[in-house]
């Protein structure tokens, strides 16, 4: 049984009306139409989905973008239901990496139902699918409680990748990428180049004396400590042939 979750911005924006109508018709043609739930300002998405799962829904289809997926990821992962995506509008990076085309074309991918299990990352207990970034990285990292990594360059940034164009989100690891600006040569003749370190890890901890900013799937978190881990093959997602992994 399918449940379609419409994000608020789709209902408010008239330019999506026609596209929604086409999607609903196509879903009926394919025989996978289901209940429609609409997200609203004072409605808790997690509670809505929990109620639907209790009524027997086995597939939650998000009609929206990456932001919509973020709202439902915890409850979908915890209840072992399948996540489907019909991407509409901007900000659909996750759907692109899953190989799901935008709009009505996504209905055929849903109908084909190619389900993949993927890893989900966690940072201070909060889940993420794609990754994290720390633009100004001057903290100490402890990796898998065994070794420490620090940047000795003046400028560095940290990126954690779970699902990206170049990573496999089914390997039970995430990639920690440190880009350090290294200067070669003296004075004004020196040239700065970015050197990239890549560490495949299962867990890591970031510690800093001053609060530092970390962007989780684009959203900012501030703290002096971040514990990052991975939950292997936790999320079941319907993917398309054009997926990046």
């Amino acid at each position: 049984m399918y449940c379609y979750l419409y994000d608020e911005y789709i209902q408010e924006n008239k330019r999506f009306e026609r596209e929604l109508l086409r999607i609903e018709n196509r879903l009926t043609d394919l025989g996978i139409a289901g209940k429609v739930s609409r997200l609203a300002l004072f409605r808790d998405a997690q509670e809505m989905i929990r109620d639907e799962i209790e009524r027997g829904v086995s597939t939650i289809v998000v009609v929206g973008n990456d932001e919509t997926i973020r709202k439902v990821i915890d409850v979908v992962a915890d209840n072992e239901v399948v996540l489907g995506i019909i991407p509409i509008g901007p900000g659909n990076e996750l759907a692109r990496m899953m190989g799901i085309p935008e709009g009505v074309a996504a209905c055929d991918v849903l109908s084909a139902r190619r389900v993949e299990k993927i890893d989900v990352g966690t940072v201070n207990g909060r889940r993420f699918v794609t990754g994290l970034t720390m633009p100004n990285f001057h903290a100490e990292i402890t990796c898998e409680d065994k070794f420490r990594v620090t940047s000795i360059a003046r400028q560095a940034e940290l990126e954690i990748r779970n699902l990206a164009d170049v990573t496999d989100p089914r390997d039970g690891r995430f990639e920690a990428v440190i880009r350090a600006a290294v200067k070669k040569g003296w004075g004004i003749f020196g040239k700065t180049t970015l050197k990239e370190s890549i560490l495949p890890l299962k867990s890591m901890a970031i510690r800093s004396e001053q609060p530092i900013s970390l962007f989780v799937d684009g959203e900012e978190m501030k703290s002096t400590r971040f514990d990052i881990g991975i939950e292997p093959l936790l999320l079941k997602v319907i993917t398309g042939k054009a997926r990046v992994f």
Binding site: T150, A153, D171, A180, K195, S197, I198
Partner: protein
């Protein structure tokens, strides 16, 4: 002209490959199942079940264990290699070496004992005193 402009191309390691580049320092017991490339600084111990590449800019103050290794930088510590150890012209090793096969380029510097053991096992190796060097 026909490239997808939205698609960002990011460099990545091969599956399970670790890269420690310049500008990064690693301290502690570093273990890996995959290939390891070191261009930065490492202190502690390094162990990989596959190939290790120590670049020209690398400074390693650690005991090193690997299946095979190519060294172009500085290693202060003992080296155990199961199969083949290749010391390039720019390499500088201060420590004992235990390996099954070795190749040493002209210009490479080794200060320590070299033992040829099948599988890079055995061979008593004394701990390197860094202050002496």
């Amino acid at each position: 002209m026909f490239k997808d402009k939205n698609k960002t191309v990011m460099p990545s390691s091969n599956a399970g490959e670790t890269i420690i580049a310049q500008g990064v320092r690693v301290e502690g017991d570093f273990r890996s199942q995959g290939d390891v490339i070191i261009e930065g600084e490492v202190a502690g111990s390094v162990e990989t079940q596959r190939a290790l590449t120590v670049g020209e800019t690398a400074k390693i103050h650690a005991d090193v264990k690997a299946k095979s290794a190519v060294v172009a930088g500085e290693v202060v510590g003992n080296i155990f290699v199961q199969e083949m150890l290749e010391l390039l012209a720019t390499s500088h090793v201060k420590g004992d070496v235990v390996t099954a096969r070795i190749s040493v380029a002209a210009g490479a510097r080794i200060n320590g004992k070299v033992s040829m053991e099948e599988g890079g096992k055995g061979g008593k190796v004394e701990k390197v005193d860094e202050e002496e060097s």
